[in-house]
Amino acid sequence: MSVNNLLENWSQFRHFHPVDDKPHDPYKWAMSIDLDACTGCNACSVACYAENNLPVVGKEKYAHGQAMHWIRIERYWDEDDREFPDQGAQFLPMMCQQCEAAPCETVCPVAATNHTADGLNSQVYNRCIGSRYCSANCPYKVRYFNWYDYPSDDNVWPAEMNQQLNPDVTVRGKGVMEKCTFCVQRLHAAKGTARSEGRIVRDGEVQTACQQACPASAISFGNLVDPESRVHKQWQAQQVALDKDVQTKDKEEGGSELRGYRIFEELRPYPSVMYLERVRESAV
C-alpha cells in the first residue's frame, strides 16, 4: 500500500450522494413511517433492544442522558397553550435516518462510519476510536456512544441474561459509537439467500425488528430501487424523491394534499426515512 495507491484510487471511494454518479443498484434500503398509524406504544423500541443487543443502562445512567435506545419514541404536544391536549399527542419514532449525504460520515476522522453500496450509513465498531465527532454533527442526535463497558457492567447482562444476546450482532465495548443499522444483520442474511438463488431480495422477505413488532404496522421497510416494493410505491405516491432537498410538491401553492415528508430535508442529509404526517379529523 502506498500513497500512490491512495492518490490514484481515492476518487473511487468518494462520490456525491445521492446524485446519480453511482446509483444504488440493486439495493437501496429505505423506510416509511406512518405517523397516523403509529400509536406511540414503544414495541418497536423494545424489539430493537432484543434484536440488537442494546444494553439497559439503568436509572442512574439514564438520568445522565446515557440511554442507548437506537429508536426512541418522541411525544410532542400542541404548542398553542390550550388547557388540555384535546387533539391528543403526536408520536414520532426516531432512529438513524440513514442519510444519503450523511453529516456524520464526512467528519469521522477514521472513516469508521461510512456509506454502503446499498445505501446504509454503516458503523464499523472495530475502526471507531470514539471521537464522537459523528454524533456532534448528526442533526437528529441518534448516535449512541458506549460511555461504559456494558458487557462487563454488573446488571446489564448477568447470567443467564447473556444467553439472550443475538449472536448475529456484536456486543459493543466501551468507547465506540453505535446507532440503528436498519438491522443490517437481517439484510445481510436475506441478501445472501437471494444471491445463492440468483435473484434479489423480494419485498417483504426481510423485515427490520422494529417493523416486525409494530402492532400498528406503521413502519414499512424495503428496497427503494425495487419498483415492486411497498416502500418504493409509498415514496412515489407521496412524491418524495430521495435526491431532492426541496420536493417539487412542496413548491406547489396551497399544499400538495400529500403526507410524505422527511425531517430536516433542507439541511440536505437526504434521509432515507420518509414520515407520513399524522392526520387529525377536522369535523370534531
Binding site: G40, A63, Q87, Q164, N166, R230, Q234, R259, Y261
Partner: protein
Amino acid sequence: MMNSGFDRRDFLKMLGWGGVAVALNGCGNTSVDDGKETVVSYVETNDYMIPSISTYFNSTCAQCDAGCNITGRIREGRVLKLDGNPDSAINRGKTCGLGQAGVQHHYNPDRVREPLLRKGGQGEAITWEKAYALIAEKLNGVSGEEIAFLTGGVSGHLKVLLGNYLDSFGCKNHFVYEAIAPAVLRAANKKSYGVEMPRFNINKAKVVLSFGADFLGAWVSPVHFSQQYAQFRKGVDGQRGVLIQVESKMTLTGANADRWVVVRPGTEGILALGIINALGIATGDIAAAVKGYDKARVSKETGVPPGQIDKIAALLKLRSPSLVLAGSAAEGYAHGSQNAAAINLLNQVLGNVGKTVEAAAVVPFPQMAPATGNTAALKTLNDGLNAGKYKVLFSYAANPVFTAPGAMKFKDSMAKAGFRVAFAHYLDETAMQADLVLPLDSALEDWGTQVPEYMAEGAQINIQQPLMEKLHANTRGMGDILLALIKLRHTEEYKKFDDYYAYLRTAVLQNKGALGGGVADDDTFWNETLSKGIIKPAGSSHVLSGNATAAGLSLPASAAIDAQYPLQLIPSVSASLRDGRHTNQPWLQESPDPLTTIVWDSWVEIHPKKAAELRIEEGDIVEVTGKNGSIKAQAYLFPGIHPDAISIPLGRGHEALGRYAKGYGVNPFQILDAVFDKETGELALHETRVKVSKTGQRFIVVKDEGVAGGMQMGRKIAVRVSSDKVRLSEEV
C-alpha cells in the same frame, strides 16, 4: 412421582415431534437456505441442525392474557427473540413491547431455582420429593372447605387439571383474581349483549367513541386492537376512522384520539346519556331515561362543553357504523356498572350491535374456557382468611400482597392461613410470605394450552411449548406439579401420564375430531398442531341477545369535592407494566412511558393548572395522602389530566421481585380505598380520594423527553395535518 430424569425425557419427546415436523415441512416448504425452519433442538442435532442457523418454534405469549401467538427464534439451543406468529388471528405476526420482553422473564437472573421452605426468615432449599411430601402432610386431614386455591386467570388444560385436583378434595375454593381486569365490563356486557366479551370490530367502525378504553395500551387485547386501529385509520371506503376518547386521564389511546374529551372523573355515564339525548333518535324507555340529561345539565356535571356534545352527536349520526367502548376508566367507580351500562346503551341506540359489536366465537369445550379473574374473588378470599377459614392456601400467578388495595391488609390476612404454598417464578411479595415456594418453569420452557378470553376471529386454542431446554434443573411446569399432586390422591387414574406433556397430548388427541384433526393419524395431527402453535376448532358463536333498555339505570351526580381529600386518584395501567408482575424485566423498566417518557420510577401526574395552584413544579417530591395511607413520588406536570384528579402508574414500587424491580418507584395499590362497585362487588379502582402536599425534596425526573418538553420549537419534526387537507384514497 417425578424424578431427576424428567427433564431429559420431557425434552426427548420434543425431539420426537420436532423430527416429524421437519419431515412435514421439509417437502419444499422451508429449507436451510432461507434460514427459517420449523425444527428443533440443539441437544441432539440432526442433519438439518446447523449451528448459526436459526430455527423457529411457535408458542403463546404468556406476558398477558391476550393470548397472542408467538414464534420464538432459537439458535444453538437458546431462545433469542420472540415475534408474533403471522398465522394468528389475534396478533397477525405482531407483538407489543411487553410481549417482546418475554425472553427476559425466561432468562431473568432472579428466578427461583429450588423449592424453598421457610426456615425462620430464610428460605431453605429442599428437594421436590420433600416438598410434595410436605404438601401431602399439610393436607392430611384437612377438608376441602379449608383449602383455598388462589390463581390468576387460567384456562385450557391447566384449568381442567386444577379443577380435577380441587375436586379430589371436594374443594370449591378456587379464587380467580386479577388485579386489573375488565370485570365490571364483563357483567355489563352480559346484561347489554348477553355475552361477557363480544367482538369489537374497530376496523369496521367509522367512528370509535371510547370512554376510557385504552385499547391501544393495556385493554383486553391491545395488539389485536392496534392492528384494527391501523386499518380503521386507513379507512373504510376511503373514509378515515375518527377516534374520540372520553376520560379523565389521558391514556395512550387518548393520546391518539382526534378529539380527547376530558371529563370530570366518574361522569362518563352521564355524558353517554347526554349524547343519547343529543342524538335524539332513542325511543321508548331509553328516550324517557335520557330525557333529563339535557346538554346544560350534562355539561355542568361532566365539564364537557355543550358544543362538544353536539359535535360528537352530529358525527355519530353522520357516520355509521360506529363503535362505543366502555373501558376501565369508566368502570372504576362505585357506580361503575351503571356507567358501563349507560355507555353500552349508546351502541344499542346507534345500531352498532351486530355490526361493530359482534358475537365472538366460542371454543366448544366449556371446561377449557378461561376462568377470568376479578377483585371480588380476592375480597371473598380475604374475608375467608380473616375468618380463619383456611388451613392451606395455594397461590399461583397472582401477587395479592402487592396488588391488593392497602385497606384489605392482605399480607396480614394471608398470615392467618395455616400453611401457604406459592408457585412462583420469582420471589415476589406473595411468595415472600409463603411457607413453601415451588419454582416454576418459565413460559418458554413449559407446556400448556390456553384459551384467550377475547376471541379475534374464529375460536382458537393456543399451544404453549418449550422453546428451549430448561435453564434450571430444579424448576417444574405448573402442569407437572399439579399432575404430581393429583397423583398423590388418584394414583390409578393418572398413572398412565408420565408427565403433563403426556396428559396434554392424550387430552388433545382424544378430541382430535372436534379440534379439526380430521382423519390424520395421531402423530401427524399432534405434530402439525405443535408446529402451528394454534388449534382452530370449529367454534360456535354466542348469539347477541342484547336488549336495548334503560331499565334500572341510575347515575349519581358527580361527587361533591371533599375538602379534606380534594383530588381523585387515578391509578393508571401502562401497557408494559400492567399490574407489576413483569416489572423485573429491565427492557420494560427502561422503556419510557409513552406519555411522560419517564423510566425506572413512579410519578404523580398533575395538571399544570392545579400544580400552579399548589405551587408544585416538575420533580417536586409530593406526598399523596388518602384515607388508607400515603406515598411519596416525584410530580410530573401533565396536561392530559382533569385538574381535580391526579394519576400514579401501577406496577412499580416492589419490595421484592428481584434486582430490576425492587426499590424502584412506589405502589399506589397500597393506598387504595376499599370501595366497591355496587352491582358486581368489584374494587372501584378510581374511587380513592387524596390530597397532595409538597415535601420540600426535589429530584430531576429521569425521562427521555428533553428540556424542550415535547415542543418542536417551530421545526418541522412531527407534522400533523387536518383531515380535509389530505387525500388518503390515493395512498399506497
